[in-house]
């Protein structure tokens, strides 16, 4: 398997608002926002709840579980820095709390199906810890 940590790829451009999210990932914790007014679980982070527009958003620890909503095995990446890792999997992860996020799926292309249970697996990609996911019960990606 490709050494993801050695990839020369674009990392996230951090917005200060999102610092608790990224600090959590570094610490092995998946954080999302929850609205104290309407109860919505929110991801990606916002300054104000996008459902009820209250400013009562607070950070909470997500369970770190979800299911695979869709996936693609990438053979020709959008960024050339990803070429050494091809083919690799990206997927839409629907968290148990509801929000959906794009992520890197630590599995082979023929080993996943829509609906698979996933768990949070923070992984070093290009020298940064990113919130990747692996199939529930697998040990893949627990490198941090």
């Amino acid at each position: 398997m490709t050494d993801l940590a050695a990839l020369q790829v674009p990392g996230p451009i951090h917005e200060p608002l999102n610092a608790p999210f990224w600090e959590g990932v570094e610490a092995g914790v998946l954080r999302i926002q929850r609205c104290g007014a309407c109860g919505a679980s929110v991801f990606y982070p916002r300054p104000i709840c996008p459902r009820c527009w209250s400013d009562a958003l607070r950070w909470v620890e997500a369970r770190g579980t979800g299911r695979l909503k869709s996936y693609s095995e990438i053979f020709k990446p959008g960024h050339p820095g990803w070429s050494p890792a091809t083919p690799y999997l990206v997927g839409l992860v629907e968290l148990t709390e509801g929000p959906v996020l794009m992520s890197h799926i630590l599995a082979a292309g023929n080993a996943v199906a829509i609906g698979d249970a996933l768990t949070f697996a923070p992984t070093d990609i290009g020298g940064r810890i990113l919130p990747c996911f692996a199939k529930a019960g697998s040990e893949t990606g627990r490198e941090v």
């Binding site: 674009p10 451009i13 951090h14 053979f75 959008g78 960024h79 199906a113």
Partner: protein, 387 residues
């Protein structure tokens, strides 16, 4: 019954032949040439144009686009704006032009869109949520987004790779009837399409548009002025628009998109059912987009697009409801944001009649769609030859 009387019509069209690269040519150059063609087609001079709608220029002119284009064209418009809806920008210009005319702000609007193409386009300077939460996972680019949409559609409905590939094959077949198309002289069947390299599963290379340089322009004017133009006017009978999200992860639905309500509104305004439309000019950045649009138009139940296409007799000018007779962007090429306008221009040709080699018999109505970003920006138009 029509719910809206047409108040504007299309009197002129222009389209440049797609090219793989345009070294040393700026986008402004292409925009001016295609605009001259559209004005000549309408038999008007630039002094008659008092409205100007433009689109983002990928890699050029990030701000003040309307003024930059107007100045270059030697125009001082009384209404101008930037329509920024990705592949839906072209159709989005048409109803905005009609609305500006109906509001009494101008009488003749030039809608122009195009882009040059260099071999190595600059990387996106985006600073938005996608750049922080999508790109770092190796998930950048439209191919990834549409692959995720297609995978979900396939899984939800049990459709096969062949089902989607027939859309690319049908588009290539139509391109053989259009000498302007980038794939003119290069047909491709289902087998060849499925044998092309996998780019992002389940999308094969030949299910993805080829990026080209090019430009399209459309003149929208008052009913009175259109009646004096040399060609039969093509009326805007209905329009609908809907924007649901930007990044595919935030899509409310992966198997149905905002074109569903946009088409419903356009058809309702025009007082016509989708099944009664003579020509379907459907935005086709990828095969999956046409599949979803057929279903979202209500032509068949969700998941039924392949059987519907077979019953339809394919996509050619002789089909029950022909689709994308210019080859679609899958056969014609995708001149960046102008790709969406090629669907408007082909609909105007078909309704005017006499399109050489591919005229649909008795074509009086067209349903045109535009689609941007990740099946997230949608515009639908109903165009017709009868006011």
């Amino acid at each position: 019954m029509r719910h809206l009387s047409p108040r504007a019509a299309i009197s002129g069209i222009g389209e440049l032949k797609p090219q793989r690269r345009t070294d040393g040519v700026a986008t402004m150059d292409l925009l001016m040439r295609v605009s001259a063609e559209a004005m000549a087609d309408a038999e008007i001079g630039p002094e008659e144009v008092d409205g100007l709608l433009v689109a983002p220029q990928v890699g050029e002119t990030p701000q003040h686009v309307p003024a930059t284009v107007a100045e270059y064209f030697g125009m001082q418009p009384e209404m101008s704006n930037l329509v920024d809806l990705g592949g839906a920008s072209g159709p989005g210009m048409i109803w905005r032009a009609a609305a500006a005319i109906a509001a009494g702000q101008c009488e003749t609007v030039l809608c122009v869109i195009g882009n040059h193409r260099n071999p190595t386009p600059p990387r996106s300077p985006n600073r938005n949520p996608a750049r922080e939460f999508d790109t770092p996972f190796g998930a950048s680019g439209a191919n990834t987004s549409y692959a995720l949409l297609m995978q979900a559609h396939m899984a939800a409905h049990g459709c096969t790779a062949e089902d989607y590939a027939q859309i690319a094959a049908g588009s290539r077949a139509n391109a053989q009837l259009n000498p302007m198309a980038i794939f003119f002289g290069q047909p491709a069947g289902v087998e060849e399409i499925l044998a092309s390299p996998m780019v992002a599963s389940p999308l094969h290379l030949l299910e993805i548009v080829m990026p080209v340089a090019g430009a399209d322009a459309v003149i929208v004017t008052t009913m009175e002025r259109a009646a004096r133009a040399p060609h039969k006017p093509v009326y805007l009978l209905g329009a609908g628009e809907k924007i649901t999200h930007r990044a595919v992860s935030q899509a409310p639905d992966l198997t149905s998109g905002p074109l569903r309500p946009a088409m419903a509104r356009a058809l309702s305004q025009a007082g016509i059912a989708a099944a009664d439309i003579d020509f379907l000019s459907f935005y086709d950045c990828y095969t999956i987009m046409v599949a979803t649009t057929i279903e979202d138009a209500g032509l068949c139940a969700p998941g039924g697009f392949a059987a519907w296409l077979r019953d339809n007799g394919g996509m050619g000018p002789g089909a029950r409801q022909p689709i994308n007779t210019h080859g679609g962007q899958l056969g014609f090429g995708q001149p960046d944001l102008a790709g969406g306008m090629t669907h408007v221009v082909e609909a105007v040709r078909q309704i005017r009649g006499g399109t050489e080699g591919r005229q649909i018999e008795g074509c009086d109505t067209a349903l045109v769609t535009g689609n941007g970003a990740t099946m997230s920006e949608a515009v639908a138009l109903v165009l017709g030859g009868t006011p």
